[in-house]
């Protein structure tokens, strides 16, 4: 098995294993704050930075930590990082902090972060874990921005997009679009080339 390149890693985080679209993690903040593009961007950047630093710390301490106490330690690390992020937002982006409100402290409950700590950072070296945090966080942030922007645009014509049902519809549309694109790509590949290359691509 060859090591995946940086571009492959980005493809994985942004598309094939996007935390929001494929792993369906962190949907609570995703649905709740994406009423505008800027809110999506704000929460996306906050989640991304927490994810990168928490991955780095979990990975750096992975040899020190016995597996029985790993969960409390993830919670400690993530909770402190989220508190720091909240303070930083309050100090330098007060307007964004007001519009995101409770969802900044609630990043602590975003399962995407604990999942990456458990699945990836606790088993891989620091550099690789930082890259993982970066690609997964970027995938999540881009999805937040896309849904935020979409809802903001559509709400000009159709108010429902701004209300909670609009969030569910938008996410469902995004997932459906991704699956449709994947399906068409798979279909095209199957017709263009014989089976062998498909197996290698996997």
């Amino acid at each position: 098995m060859t090591r995946p390149t940086l571009i492959d890693r980005f493809k994985t985080g942004l598309w094939h294993e996007n935390p929001g679209l494929v792993q369906l993690l962190g949907l609570c903040p995703l649905l709740a704050v994406t009423s505008t593009f800027v809110n999506g961007l704000g929460l996306g950047v906050a989640t991304l930075s927490v994810l990168v630093v928490s991955n780095a710390l979990v990975s750096a301490t992975r040899r020190l930590i016995r597996s029985e106490i790993r969960i409390p330690i993830y919670v400690l690390i993530i909770a402190s990082l989220v508190t720091c992020t909240e303070l930083i937002f309050k100090a330098w982006f007060p307007a964004l902090d007001r519009s995101l409100g409770i969802f900044i402290p609630l990043i602590v409950t975003n399962c995407a972060i604990v999942a990456r700590a458990e699945v990836f950072a606790s088993r891989n070296p620091v550099g690789s874990s930082i890259v993982d945090g970066l690609v997964m966080g970027t995938g999540f942030a881009l999805l937040l921005m896309a849904i935020g922007g979409f809802r903001e645009l559509v709400s000009m014509a159709w108010l429902l997009a701004l209300l909670p049902p609009g969030a569910f519809f938008s996410l469902a549309l995004a997932i459906a679009a991704k699956n449709a694109i994947d399906g068409r790509r798979r279909h095209r590949r199957a017709h263009a080339q014989p089976r062998r290359s498909r197996l290698i691509n996997r």
Binding site: T61, I69, I73, S80, L87, I88, A91, P94
Partner: protein, 214 residues
């Protein structure tokens, strides 16, 4: 062996807890002053809509007074009053109250009343009303709250402090009457409170000022 590993785990946990606490404490030290300044600025900024056309020289946010619940103002939580002075003379009082009978939860209102009992401005600070319908009461979304400017308990008379649909003098919003009705009622109750307690509202600081001067 088992005991050793328990102790070792405990120590690891304690160590990481200490490092994390230090990290949070450091960030707090770093951001503390900026956050306090931001909150002060936000407060002053959100009081502005109720201060239009007033001459005053005191720092408004410093003259704050809390009226503990229960009180006769709208809302069941503590109400906040900012007193505005020009020199020693009281100019206006800004009340932060909540209208409880909105469509979805309490509506936090800033109600500015000058010394003569006229409204200097009404501003919605916080609400959870339906976007696109009830949120027209936000001054950034429509001019609806401007109709209160300059009104008082005599203009219209107390019976007229209702929305038009209920036979009063104030416009409702298209498609939303619950929110405007709640706000009109809360503003009326604030005016009534101010009329009954005008001296007490300003006396709290005037009294301490006198003691300091004499």
């Amino acid at each position: 062996m088992a005991e050793v590993s328990v102790i070792r785990s405990g120590l690891t946990l304690a160590l990481i807890a200490a490092v994390c606490t230090a990290l949070v404490a450091f960030t707090y030290r770093l951001t503390d002053e900026r956050i306090a300044a931001n909150e002060q600025a936000w407060l002053e900024q959100s009081l502005q809509p109720a201060l239009s056309g007033l001459f005053f020289d005191s720092g408004v946010s410093e003259s704050v007074m809390t009226i503990p619940a229960p009180h006769d103002l709208p809302g069941s939580d503590d109400a906040i009053v900012y007193r505005v002075y020009s020199g020693e003379t009281p100019v206006a009082a800004l009340f932060v109250v909540s209208a409880r009978d909105g469509y979805a939860g309490a509506i936090r209102l800033l109600v500015g009343i000058d010394i003569a009992g006229k409204l200097t401005g009404v501003h919605v600070l916080e609400h959870r009303e339906t976007p696109g319908l009830g949120d027209g009461v936000e001054s950034s979304k429509s001019d609806w709250v401007r109709q209160f400017d300059g009104r008082s308990l005599g203009d219209p008379a107390v019976e007229g402090w209702k929305i038009r649909r209920d036979g009063g003098a104030f416009d409702q919003l298209t498609g939303a009457s619950v929110t405007p009705r709640a706000i009109v009622k809360a503003v009326k109750e604030t005016l009534l409170y101010f009329e009954a307690n005008r001296e007490a509202v300003f006396l709290a600081v005037a009294g301490t000022d006198d003691e300091a001067d004499e």
